[in-house]
Amino acid sequence: MLERSAVGSTRQDVPLQRIIAVDYDHCSYCGACVAVCPPDSITLHDATLIIDHDTCTRCKRCIPACPTGALSLTMEQAA
């Protein structure tokens, strides 16, 4: 699932990766995304939403399940 591209990368040795990103300014920690995630990659702790990018399949079901539009598929540099 990795999209390998150096375009836009700030460090040439680290490839860009498509990931589901959380906009924490919009997230209300309601857990609506958790229930629709097939591989159980999203966990809701006290007031934190954590996405496991290793198990996430980028199926994007969580995006329309979010009432506030806090989730999106974006290109980011892999950690």
């Binding site: 857990g31 609506a32 958790v34 229930a35 629709v36 702790h45 979010c66 506030t68």
Partner: protein, 391 residues
């Protein structure tokens, strides 16, 4: 906190608290854990319940009753409005206080209640006890229970650990957004429903008065993968023309599966209740008292199972049978109705509401109203019927 309990309940919402109370009342050592630091907060609900139904679980108390409702109304986007008597007298709750009161009643019955405690995994051991890994105030802990009741809501992880959780189809998943609004000029004794694809695609909007010129104003939409607007944006568009002078005191969002209940609600030493078991009404997504009934049934069976020394899935399955006897038929019907209704074109539903709005419906049953609408506009029935055939 002890090392071993008869019953461990995960989640102190209405379903979990009633389960814990029922188990504790039967003399079971019971632990009720809540991951949040405060029971009942944040609220994730439109807060309407049937008065008589809720009264079977807890004596009515004015401190958690925000409003008493006499009538319901259903409106289309054109502004036609049908006013109907409710099937049951309805209350709008103050869930923050209600939930805390239920947890209090569980504690009163002898259950141990612990907040800021979340479950981090469970595993049934060969001796029949379920080992539950907890994180309490950030510290890892371990307890053992004969039966674990998962009441951990829509985002339930315990159902996944027990291997019971199917992933809902997107069309059977409601995304909800609600504001608690003030300076709202609505009839304080009428719960309003608003339907229309443009307003709330695949779902509906509501205005539930809470007294003191306050109201829960919200909507549910289906989780549409092609959606261009979020539920919150639909809500903003809904309130803008209707409540231009009102202020927002609180925002509530969430997701609700309307799939009908999980095909399996029990595993060895484990039972799921409430939203964790998808026990919300598959048409309206109302779930407070249904979850409480699920919690009651589950705890009753857990108590029996512990007394019989058999907490296997095959014994606990009695809970599924109790649920099915009480809700099975009506839930299957409501599920089929929703599958049909979402396919009926918006203008047909609008026409029906427009037609019914001309009648004096305040003392009529829904059946009478439908009968008259069909008599006045028989072609509507012919147009709508095909959507229901085969459902």
């Amino acid at each position: 906190m002890r090392r071993e309990y008869d019953v461990l309940v995960i989640g102190a919402g209405p379903a979990g608290s009633i389960a814990a109370r029922t188990a504790a009342q039967a003399g079971m050592s019971t632990l009720l854990i809540e991951k949040r630091q405060e029971i009942g907060s944040p609220v994730r609900c439109a807060e309407a319940v049937g008065r008589e139904t809720v009264e079977t679980f807890i004596p009515l108390n004015p401190k958690w009753i925000a409003a008493e409702i006499d009538m319901f109304s259903v409106s289309n986007p054109q502004g036609d409005c049908v006013v109907l008597p409710p099937i049951e007298k309805t209350l709008v709750l103050e869930r923050k206080i209600f939930d805390r009161e239920l947890a209090h009643s569980a504690a009163d019955a002898g259950a141990e209640v612990v907040v800021k405690a979340r479950a981090a995994g469970l595993c049934r051991e060969p001796n029949g006890l379920v080992n539950v890994k907890l994180v309490v105030q950030g510290e890892p802990r371990e307890v053992w229970a004969r039966v674990v009741i998962g009441a951990d809501g829509t985002e339930s992880q315990s159902t996944r650990w027990a291997g019971l959780k199917p992933i809902p189809q997107m069309k059977n998943y409601y995304v909800a957004a609600q504001y608690l609004m003030t300076n709202v000029d609505v009839d304080p004794r009428i719960c309003q429903y608003h339907v229309g694809w443009s307003l709330a695609p695949g779902g509906y909007g509501w205005v539930f008065p809470k007294g003191d010129r306050q109201a829960n104003v919200g909507l549910v939409i289906w989780a549409d993968p092609g959606a261009t607007k979020t539920a919150l944006q639909y809500l903003d568009d809904f309130i803008a023309p209707r409540f231009p002078n009102s202020s927002i005191l609180a925002q509530v969002v969430g997701g609700i599966p309307v799939t009908n209940v999980l095909p399996q609600m029990v595993a060895d030493g484990y039972m799921a209740v409430g939203d964790a078991a998808h026990q919300s009404d598959p048409l309206t997504a109302g779930g407070i008292t249904n979850g409480m009934q699920g919690g009651t049934f589950a705890a009753q069976v857990a108590v029996d199972a512990i007394r019989h020394g058999d907490t296997s899935a095959s014994y606990l399955r009695k809970y599924e049978h109790m649920w099915d006897a009480a809700f099975g038929r009506s839930y299957r019907r409501l599920f089929r109705i929703r599958q049909a209704v979402i396919k009926v074109p918006e203008e047909k539903i609008s026409q029906m509401i427009g037609q019914a709005a001309r009648l004096d419906t305040r003392k009529m049953s829904l059946k009478d109203i439908l009968a008259i609408v069909v008599r006045v506009q028989p072609q509507l029935l012919l147009e709508i019927a095909p959507y229901f055939v085969g459902q």
